[in-house]
């Protein structure tokens, strides 16, 4: 019993300590951002690795998710003779929920894990230490550009996911199932609100991008500098990101759409 309480205490203290270190890292990153504006090429380079290279998985997944939504939505709506509303159903599901959430989960798997592994390996091969000894702050030179790139990429990727998803649903709905083209688009335009739906979705994806990139970079920066340690950190990035995304999604949805 005592051992159990002791273990619990150690676990809690350890978690608190990590949280503290993560917050300190975040503060260091944020104070480094103004300086980064002078050397934006560093961010552009990372935008390519973090954002552009994630486009393929986002677009392909978006297309399939949209197509499935189109099929399932049609089957449900047709019973009520409301298949014309397929466009609304699909656009609201994607823009409000699936776009930000699924693309953030994919982003954590594709870009987050890569960031953790890269930074972790830089640490274990003493590259970060080497920079410090060359009087270059690794947080400003290595971590901050990646953070900013993640923050910028995520909303753009989520928007792409939603757009391609709607296209996929249209292909299935109109091309395969014969939903009227005019009704599909016009109802979508009429019922999808700029502020309530699109902007809230964008806010969600910015929050997810912030959290996922933060977790990924912290795990890499704080990893035990061995092959096993980097492997564990990479796993933790994906698992913690998934928890954070789904948990925060509930909180944000409750704040945005709960009356």
């Amino acid at each position: 019993m005592i051992d159990f309480i002791r273990m619990l205490g150690r676990w809690a203290l350890g978690t608190l300590e990590r949280l503290g270190r993560a917050t300190l890292l975040l503060v260091q990153i944020i104070t480094g951002i103004p300086e980064l504006m002078m050397r934006f090429s560093l961010v552009v380079q990372q935008l390519f690795y973090v954002g552009v290279l994630s486009i393929l998985i986002i677009v392909v997944s978006g297309l399939f998710v949209g197509m499935v939504l189109g099929l399932q939505g049609y089957n449900t709506l047709v019973d009520f003779g409301a298949e014309e509303s397929l466009g609304v159903l699909v656009s609201l599901s994607l823009v409000r929920e699936l776009g930000p959430v699924v693309s953030a989960l994919l982003f954590a798997g594709r870009a987050g894990s890569a960031l953790t592994a890269e930074v972790g390996l830089m640490k274990s091969t003493e590259q970060l230490s080497g920079m410090e000894m060359m009087a270059v702050d690794p947080v400003r030179r290595v971590i901050a550009p990646r953070f900013l790139a993640g923050l910028i990429s995520m909303p753009l990727l989520a928007a792409m996911f939603s757009a391609v998803g709607i296209l996929g649903a249209f292909l299935v709905g109109h091309g395969l199932l014969g939903v009227d083209e005019g009704a599909f688009w016009s109802q979508m335009q009429a019922k999808t609100d700029w502020y309530d739906d699109i902007l809230n979705g964008v806010i969600k994806s910015i929050v997810f991008g912030f959290v996922v990139t933060w977790i990924a970079l912290f795990e890499g920066y704080d990893s035990v500098p061995t092959s096993e340690g980097v492997g564990r950190s990479t796993t933790r990035t994906v698992v913690h990101s998934a928890f954070a995304i789904l948990g925060l999604d509930f909180v944000l949805t409750a704040l945005m759409f709960g009356e």
């Binding site: 091969t125 003493e126 230490s129 080497g130 410090e132 000894m133 060359m134 009087a135 270059v136 702050d137």
Partner: protein
């Protein structure tokens, strides 16, 4: 002559284990000073303490009149620009090529025009004999070449001192000879101060002006290579000649072998 680096009463602990238990070291300008000792005596830790990456629990390290651990972050970074450090692995940035690695500190800390950076980088690479390897990526280099590139990079900002962390470990005889030669030549040609941390006795004895022997968190002995060779201490004799048994026992301390054999199966 006042030393460039003055280490006084340095104490450093990892958990309860004392890595340094009150050591004093003087490192003089223009000399190659070697810090030697068995693996695990904290030689690398000492370099990190000198570079301000770690903080001692007690004692001071004064470099060129400045106490490393009392400096503000900005002043510490300014001091680091005047130090070069060669990590055991080379610590080259793996996503850029040899030329860009050597140019890295120049791009980060100076506003020199591109053509001048090119000339400077080629000069440094010429000095380590790798001018023609400038387009290679770090992954394509052998261990010895990577260390030479790292040396070129450490020299890029013309520092006042260079610290070498185990420069000879795992090198074939040719690259070992090259490195031994380079460290001495670079030190004398550029008027540097060098600190070499190593446990390779023969190579280090060849180039060092002063040697400090560390063990168990203390300075066991110090002096020129000749003085150490004449030292009467058993420990120094064992270390310098690489004898398997002596004051440092072959067997890790613990229970007696006979007791273990007779203890039966229940005690593994």
């Amino acid at each position: 002559m006042t030393p460039l680096i003055k280490i006084r009463d340095l104490h450093f602990y990892r958990g309860d284990k004392a890595i340094f238990d009150g050591i004093d070291i003087d490192i003089y300008r223009g000399k190659v000073t070697a810090i030697m000792g068995p693996s695990g005596t904290g030689k690398t830790t000492l370099l990190k303490l000198i570079g301000g990456q770690l903080r001692p629990q007690r004692g001071s390290i004064v470099i060129d009149g400045e106490d490393v651990h009392k400096l503000s972050r900005k002043a510490l970074y300014a001091l680091r620009k005047r130090m070069g450090m060669l990590f055991q692995s080379g610590a080259l940035l793996t996503d850029i090529n040899v030329f860009e690695n050597v140019a890295f500190p120049l791009y980060e800390h100076t506003d020199l025009p591109e053509s001048m950076i090119r000339d400077l980088v080629l000069m440094k690479l010429q000095a380590v004999g790798l001018r023609n390897a400038r387009d290679m990526m770090p992954a394509q280099l052998s261990g010895g070449m990577a260390r030479r590139v790292a040396l070129a990079r450490a020299m890029a900002l013309d520092p006042m001192m260079i610290m070498y962390d185990e420069p000879f470990t795992g090198q074939d005889p040719i690259s070992m000879g090259t490195l031994v030669n380079l460290i001495r030549r670079v030190n004398d040609a550029m008027g540097l101060t060098s600190i070499v941390v190593s446990h390779d006795v023969d190579e280090t004895m060849q180039i060092a002006d002063d040697i400090y022997l560390l063990s168990g968190g203390k300075v066991i002995d110090q002096g020129t290579p000749e003085q150490l060779q004449k030292s009467g201490s058993d420990w120094v004799g064992q270390f310098l000649q690489g004898l398997p048994d002596g004051p440092v026992p072959f067997h890790y301390p613990g229970t007696e072998f006979a007791d273990d054999l007779l203890a039966g199966e229940e005690h593994r």
